[in-house]
Symmetry: C2
Subunit: 358 residues, 2 copies
């Protein structure tokens, strides 16, 4: 690209988000080659303390990353987990007994005052505290006993993209280490190359975006590991394109919101290649039976049975790391729909990068 | 009402839901007078086992009731809690170590096969299991070690109303008992009378419904105890009126979805009279600053600062039991909006009363 073309690209709406999405393969590679050793060491130290329960606390995209970690911890390690309702500590002053509890606080910036306060209070209540951030010098890292650096580099666009996938990979490596599993890196080895391939397929996403440019609402669904992806994709669409996007686990969708799905609400299903995708089949059958506009992000065979979709290269990729790939086309979908609607994905109205709730 | 008028009322759309909403004061009274002793006894037995952590599992409206219990347990008893991601057990076969864990499964029917399977698996993994249902003869009650009967009587309309408030009251009494607090009944003593008063104010709700009849989407928000109410109100609107209704804790709303709130999305804030409502103030200020159409369900002073609302008689009512009242006008709102749109609240399309996900 010439200097003049580069300068023009700099001025296009969404250039920050686009650049950061494109950085994801390199960020994943960096974590695997330069971060994994340190993550294993943190996991080893925490495993030595023998936590029996895990609480996770986060907001926004980080909350979806925390949900991914919850599935990993429950399925792979059999550790009961909960997501903290922060206001119980910050507004009501609850001081729970947190002996034997590992509290994982996930925050890209590490700067939200309420997360810092809640983490500090949890440490005082006996919890082992672990911060997962993109900033080792953040207040959150400072008040936490242990810290994982997600090594994503500065993120300037308001919608989190590379920091999300980086957080997932760091959490995967951490949970593998916590379980004494030395293969955390091996399982993830193909991810940077596959992510590169996904980033390059933006033409397909642009076509999908044209289809949903005028959608007044969207429903996302998944089961198992992919549920975090569904939540994160819905959040991306809401915060960039201002489309009301709802996300339900397949089972919850049957309990009420299904009444809302009809031929004017497209349903985007994240179908993991594995047990989560299998558990979603009855939901997909029901949606097809109702004539819903069903878009599948998942294995090619599933995409072919849907109204539209995006085939993921999941063959040989363990289900538990598929969310690190699944979100990439959906980030791009939010970006393309936002541009098609005439907005700037880099700077959604009303949002600040570090949210100062107390 | 003459027999002829009664027969005509029987044929009106929504007559089941309307009748069941109106039964709520009597159901609450029944639990306080005839159920409280048994609930205290169950709580005493479980307290003797000294659980240290609580996991909650439920779907749909019961999931919102479980969220209410989570706040009670964390704030009043300092017990760390988590909501179970069911598929980790039913789809992935996770077998967590659940010693010292109390698993509370909430289900109106007690019939969902996945809840029964997950509860059974949790018991086998060492958890103390407690079922909270409207049916003592249900499969769920049978596989659980302990059972709380919410005594709501048969619920025929598909949207849960009386079973929701009955579950909240039963959970309040249970948590009070678990903490050795003999005053659980005293704190709730005024609720049946206040509920009666709320049920009678349907004219006010009809006026509010006229205002939102054509809304294409709605956003609910709250903090603290009222957050369960916001979730349940959103679910009611989705399942009966098919309006995409999103619910966020006030802090989460700032992390993305706020970009979506503008002068075409009304925001309904559930403002509890207490610490939760205080913690919501910065969010309310921000919404007013953006010119949002802000509807408040809460104390009269808060309603007067909003665009519209419904004043709750919260004076002298402990914040922790206010959710039992807050939802009543919002159930009616869903009912009135549904009728105004020409649908039948009793029988939303696509829904079954007992959801058979596995």
């Amino acid at each position: 690209m010439s200097a003049g073309t580069a300068a023009a690209a700099e001025e296009q709406p969404g250039h920050l988000m686009r650049r950061e999405m494109a950085e994801q393969p390199a960020v994943l590679e960096r974590i695997l080659t330069r971060g994994a050793g340190r993550i294993r060491e943190v996991a080893r130290r925490i495993a030595a303390r023998q936590p029996r329960f895990v609480l996770l606390t986060a907001r926004g995209s980080s909350d979806n990353a925390a949900l991914y970690a919850k599935y990993l911890l429950e399925i792979r390690l059999g550790m009961p987990c909960g997501l903290v309702s922060m206001s119980t500590i910050t507004a009501y002053g609850a001081r729970p007994d947190l002996r034997d509890v590992l509290l994982i606080t996930v925050s890209q910036s590490g700067g939200s005052p309420d997360l810092v306060a809640a983490t500090k209070a949890a440490g005082a209540a006996g919890a082992i505290t672990l911060a997962v951030t993109n900033n080792p010098d953040s207040p959150l890292a400072a008040v936490s006993e242990q810290h994982l650096d997600i090594m994503a580099g500065a993120e300037q666009a308001l919608p989190a993209t590379k920091s999300y996938t980086a957080t997932l990979l760091a959490l995967h490596l951490f949970v593998a280490g916590l379980g004494g599993d030395a293969d955390g890196v091996a399982v993830a080895r193909e991810l940077p190359g596959l992510a590169e391939h996904l980033v390059d397929r933006h033409g397909e996403i642009r076509a999908l975006a044209a289809r949903y440019r005028f959608a007044e609402r969207m429903v996302f669904t998944s089961r198992g590991y992919g549920y975090a992806t569904a939540n994160e994709a819905a959040l991306k669409l809401m915060e960039t394109a201002y489309i009301p996007a709802l996300s339900y686990s397949g089972a919850d969708l049957m309990h009420g919101p299904l009444a809302m799905v009809d031929n004017i609400s497209p349903v985007i299903a994240v179908v993991s290649d594995g047990k989560g995708g299998q558990a979603l089949q009855p939901v997909l059958d029901r949606l097809r039976g109702r004539g819903a506009d069903l878009v599948v992000v998942g294995p090619r065979a599933e995409v072919e049975r849907a109204s539209a979709g995006f085939a993921l290269p999941t063959r040989g990729v363990a289900e538990e790391v598929q969310p690190i790939l699944e979100i990439i086309p959906l980030q791009r979908l939010a970006y393309e729909v936002t541009l098609a609607r005439g907005f700037d994905p880099d700077a959604p109205r009303a949002l600040a990068k570090v949210t100062k709730t107390h």
